[in-house]
Symmetry: C2
Subunit: 419 residues, 2 copies
Amino acid sequence: MRQSKLFGKTLKQAPKDEVSINAILLTRAGFIDKLSAGIYTYLPLGLRVLNKIKNIVREEMNAIGGQEILMPALQPKELWEKTGRWTKPGKEVMFQLEDRSGKEYGLGWTHEEIITPLVKKIVSSYKDLPLYLYQIQDKFRDEPRAKSGLLRGLEFSMKDLYSFHTDEKDLEEYYQKALKAYQKVFKRCSLELLVTEASGGSFSKYSHEFQVLTPSGEDIIFYCQKCFYAQNKEIAKFKADDKCPKCKSGKMAEGKSIEVGNIFQLKTKYSSPFDLFYTDQNGKQKPVIMGCYGIGPSRVMGSVVEVHHDQQGIIWPKIIAPYQIHLLMLGSENELGKKAKTVYNKLLAQGLEILFDDRLDISAGQKFADSDLIGIPYRLVISNKTKDKVEVKRRNEKEVKLMEIKELFKKLTSEQSDK
Amino acid sequence: MRQSKLFGKTLKQAPKDEVSINAILLTRAGFIDKLSAGIYTYLPLGLRVLNKIKNIVREEMNAIGGQEILMPALQPKELWEKTGRWTKPGKEVMFQLEDRSGKEYGLGWTHEEIITPLVKKIVSSYKDLPLYLYQIQDKFRDEPRAKSGLLRGLEFSMKDLYSFHTDEKDLEEYYQKALKAYQKVFKRCSLELLVTEASGGSFSKYSHEFQVLTPSGEDIIFYCQKCFYAQNKEIAKFKADDKCPKCKSGKMAEGKSIEVGNIFQLKTKYSSPFDLFYTDQNGKQKPVIMGCYGIGPSRVMGSVVEVHHDQQGIIWPKIIAPYQIHLLMLGSENELGKKAKTVYNKLLAQGLEILFDDRLDISAGQKFADSDLIGIPYRLVISNKTKDKVEVKRRNEKEVKLMEIKELFKKLTSEQSDK
């Protein structure tokens, strides 16, 4: 992509109405634009990152047998009344509205009330189970304090997986599988996280949250500094500096954190109100056992920025960076332009993703500052200073290398094939 | 995909509450499930088709310089008041709601009110123009008569492209380019359409609708049977059987049709209320000239089914079929199962998309009926009858060929590379 054509503008100053690091940096670097509190537009750079995160999530959900579907956001009141959630939490969480005929709907903030009756239409026998369904869809929540950029939105992207089982043992096995799949997703996105025990509601001892330690987090967790066992403060029966109840030797620390995912054993919580039964091998009717598993791709994007940045801007992990290479042309002479374009086209032909700063009326200093702010992993600089060579620098390293163009292609191509 | 695991069920009978062909066939074949009037869930088969259509649209929009972004569905009232559309058409079209603090929002049914102020933040000079931005996003409309399946939904998928220009000549040129890109999209989806003149509002003589002739259409158009010039009945100054005003020799016919896309020269209709100006080469402030261009991928999906089906079910065009090959295993003997699995795995390894009907407790008759209903282009049958050969049949042809497995692979692989 030629940066001279790219829709989006870098800003020197933080937007006045943002306090969170992710919103400030993503806005300044031209990834997102705020429409209203907790509501953002994804500009071309931002959408590329969001889609890469969604695809990682998709790959890992497919790998554990997930089948992708797409459910509606607009959901009839009757279904939510079946579980009592139309009134509690009701408007505390859900936007509610009506159509011209007076029929009432809520905007989906989760989909148990939709997927359970859907599965009831199709599943009837033990032969239809287990079943794993997920979607990647935009959800809505009437958030009272939407001040954290992509970490807490009124409209946000969500992957929600639901699993359906004949018994609790099968659920437990899949739950552990999903837990590992989640760890893979976050590892691939370069998020170090703590699998944290949290309230299991009335049906399970615990649910598990995937928490990323960061000063901007809105959750508080306790975690063992030795074995990394963790619990959400909301349910913890110990305090900071206590001995770890798990490994019995480490000390528990308290930390702020962001919840980027959670998994929950629903068991019969939703199959009961919707009469979701199956017939077992002996012809007996039994309730279907359910689990649910959420990851917010937009929240992951915000969290990555909270964790991976410096004074100059964002430092994207390679796998979700909007582009792999930021090619900067310094100066505007004809010869130089030709050389830069040749390098750009050669890199493109190799299948590499390149943002090419071909802007003519921008100073070298500004180009470097923009490049640091945007945070693409590799920066290549072409200027008259370097003749037939290219300056190569990684975003997270200080060292600048001078490389022959030919040598550079070789290196990038081999890295690309390792990916 | 193994059909024994696939989420979705074929139905022998039409669902009681559906009257349109697309809703009946897509529901019976397990592509969609109705949640409420005009609101559907896409099951795995349906989502595959929808995503393929979205990708075709994406490719053609990228080819004419479109940059993809993603705007929110939840839109503050203030922006819609600027253009007067909060009250007119207001609730006639738009779902309106408020958050816990009483702040009012509408659910987006189009995005001029969002994109125009967004572009104003970034565009200031003639150097920033022209600019082409699009999104593929779910929209909402309070439809009074949502009885046509995917043709008219309360929640539906939409690609909306907006173009921004320095002058009307540049808009006109891009408008023609977009018209051609639209024709490519529909051609690739095997939809024959009539580019139909429709009302241009107060700013343009005409807009253009892309209309597909079909008895289930809700629009009425006149079209020349010779040169295919067409006009929407709403603006036509002639009647059926009149001579074509364009070619002067053909006769105009009247027909029902579905509007699957439209393009519109907005000119300054939205740049005016939002003060979207640019500075020209002489330092003079001028209004930005706009165009907008819509295609509904879910409506395209419904239209394809309306046009391409027979008594037995859907006949998917290859490029948007959920799978390229439907592999049917008839019978359940061990040897046969082994053979079928070998063929399945070999085809998968070739990168082909296969639905493998490996169900054991289903009769051959039922498998053929399901296969006709689902409508995948190629059907391969493996049974004991055929020994080392495979029965091959195209969905839209009667002829059944017996082919050596080896010969078949060769053929499919060469077709795949032609794609």
